[in-house]
């Protein structure tokens, strides 16, 4: 093979590639998340409560407790999937708890907790309103590498330890504590999602 032949084969068989669909958007999202990252965050009381909740629950189990619960799980997943469509992820885009939390003022009749305990591993990227369970709820958006995590939260009495379920490759984790009901959903693997919840 002459050097020219080798050149020709290299040219033909080692093409320059195009970045896959969506990579540009993911990179931009990650850049924005990083650029707007808050300097310091603190959410110790809630984090502590969540850790206790996780510890107390001891075992993780798939709940099939009630049809209402199953229906809610479907709604959570549907909202998550809808949020992933272009332009649906946030109404307010910021990594700063102090921007996201006040944004809900006057839009819902409660002021949701907006924790941001692990800005390096699970940066907060924004929030939006969503509709679920017959009411308007707060949706907080976090990120883990390329994975979007939605946290739905609304006021709900009672307390319930952490449970999880899996649906079509998506993981959902929910619990009630401190007057709030939380639903966390993502395509992130279960272990990392549990880690995220433990740090919330």
């Amino acid at each position: 093979m002459s050097p020219e032949e080798l050149d020709a084969r290299i040219k033909a068989e080692l093409p320059a590639l195009a970045a896959p669909e969506g990579l540009r958007e993911r990179v931009r999202l990650a850049l924005r998340a990083e650029a707007h990252r808050p300097q310091r965050s603190y959410w110790v009381p809630l984090a502590a409560a969540a850790i206790v909740a996780v510890a107390v629950s001891g075992t993780w189990y798939v709940s099939s407790r009630s049809s209402e619960r199953a229906e809610l799980a479907q709604q959570v997943l549907a909202s998550h999937l809808r949020s992933l469509q272009p332009g649906h992820l946030f109404d307010v885009q910021s990594n700063n708890t102090h921007n996201v939390k006040p944004w809900f003022n006057g839009k819902v009749n409660f002021s949701p907790p907006v924790p941001n305990p692990e800005p390096d591993s699970f940066p907060l990227v924004g929030g939006r309103l969503d509709y679920m369970h017959g009411r308007t709820v707060a949706a907080l958006v976090y990120q883990r590498r390329l994975h979007v995590i939605n946290v739905f939260v609304w006021p709900e009495g009672g307390s319930e330890s952490v449970s999880e379920r899996a649906e079509n490759g998506y993981n959902e984790i929910y619990w009630k504590s401190g007057g709030w009901e939380y639903w966390v959903v993502s395509d992130l693997n279960r272990d990392e999602l549990k880690k995220f919840v433990a740090e919330l």
């Binding site: 093979m1 080692l14 093409p15 990650a30």
Partner: protein, 168 residues
């Protein structure tokens, strides 16, 4: 980071996303690893944007992508401290068996490239696909220009040998 800086960074860096992905894809040999490496490289580039002093932005981005892929690979090897030894990988040093194994029924240049040690692969991709100068490549792989040229020529020779052996 200020919004203007972010916008300026995106304007300089994002046009090279395809080139970044191409390099990462050939270096990691895996689409998901390439995806991750590109994303991490762009985050790193933004972090060090303050120290970017002009020059060809493509070469700058590719240098960061290459380092990201390299540390990914080294982490994968559980940080086995192994320095690439150009002497060890000279053609005289490569045993006939190893070359035969490499060339086992591989007849496309693409497959042959994937079998090359990373140090050969990266100079070939940077030169043949990305069209960078020897000097730019030397800066990126942190090796003297003579080493770059010799890796390039030996890498090409290996490609050729593997492709030929596959066809035979």
């Amino acid at each position: 980071m200020h919004e203007q800086d972010l916008i300026r960074f995106e304007a300089i860096a994002l046009p090279h996303l395809d080139a970044a992905y191409t390099l990462a894809r050939y270096l990691t040999r895996d689409p998901h690893d390439a995806d991750d490496a590109v994303q991490e490289a762009f985050l790193r580039a933004m972090k060090y944007f303050g120290s970017y002093r002009g020059g060809d932005p493509k070469a700058w981005i590719l240098a960061i992508v290459r380092n990201e892929c390299r540390s990914k690979r080294l982490r994968g090897k559980e940080a086995k401290a192994e320095e690439f030894d150009d002497e060890l990988h000279s053609d005289e040093g490569a045993s006939a068996d190893a070359l035969a194994l490499e060339s086992d029924a591989k007849e496309t240049v693409r497959e042959a490239l994937e079998l090359l040690p990373a140090e050969f692969r990266e100079v070939i991709v940077l030169r043949e696909i990305q069209g960078l100068s020897y000097q730019e490549i030397a800066d990126i792989v942190k090796a003297p220009i003579g080493t770059v040229m010799s890796r390039l020529s030996r890498g090409r020779a290996r490609l050729e040998k593997t492709v030929k052996a596959g066809r035979a």
